[in-house]
Symmetry: C2
Subunit: 117 residues, 2 copies
DNA sequence: GACGATACTTACAAAATTGTAAGCAAATGA
DNA sequence: TCATTTGCTTACAATTTTGTAAGTATCGTC
């Protein structure tokens, strides 16, 4: 849990007021969060399907990031009759597509090529 | 310093190969980094000027983030005759302007308004 | 040639994030 | 009904980031 009395927390709040880009960054940063969003852009997925789709992620962290994404209203947890649930991008989450593309585009151009082995 | 043998580190590397957006995110995330970049979009600044311009930042963290930005080639440290240095955006750093605008734009629309007091 | 400002660095502590390993309840399947 | 699987949660540890406080080297000033 986040400590709301720390200098760290206060600095973050101030930055968000001052710089909307910093706010956006805060909702999409976190290991695997972008990956989850990208997977959900294609289709709704169940917990287990996300786990399958994202090699390396652990259940703990997947659950945690899903919870944060839900808190920030980027995804929805919808009932999938007759049982279980699906994770789905909310309209807000889907509206991030342009931002993600922007990030991807820059990275594709500027990421250093790992030296050939 | 970063431990290059941790699971954490390995996961990050993998993600960068798999998702260029995650790579971009990694170079701009870090408390105050965006703020520094935004200030430098306007003009070159000295260490002390940046410190002045960014209330709340400490010398330690400013130096650290500048070092990272320099390592990632987003900024340059150029000699400012007759003495001292200036920090300047590199062409690569400047090319982030579109990404930053994209982040800002989304944030401006979606950041929850802090409830009026 | 001591004095202060500038631009850092260092040692250390607090906080935040991520990972490891279990556990557990509800639904499913044999 | 009894064992599995699914979708989580919990306790805990390692790692990483950020902050606090002090120190140092270099420069220009007096």
């Amino acid at each position: 849990m986040r400590k709301t009395t720390s200098t760290n927390f206060e600095n973050e709040q101030q930055l968000h007021e001052w710089c909307t880009a910093a706010f956006t960054l805060s909702v999409i940063s976190g290991r695997w969060k972008l990956t989850i969003l990208v997977k959900l852009l294609d289709q709704d997925l169940k917990f287990g399907e996300l786990k399958q789709a994202i090699p390396g992620i652990t259940e703990r962290v997947l659950a945690l990031q899903l919870k944060n994404l839900e808190r920030d209203q980027l995804i929805l947890k919808v009932a999938d009759e007759p049982n279980g649930h699906l994770y789905r991008l909310s309209p807000t989450g889907r509206s991030l597509e342009g931002v993600i593309n922007s990030l991807s585009g820059w990275g594709a151009v500027h990421q250093p090529v790992p030296s050939a082995k």
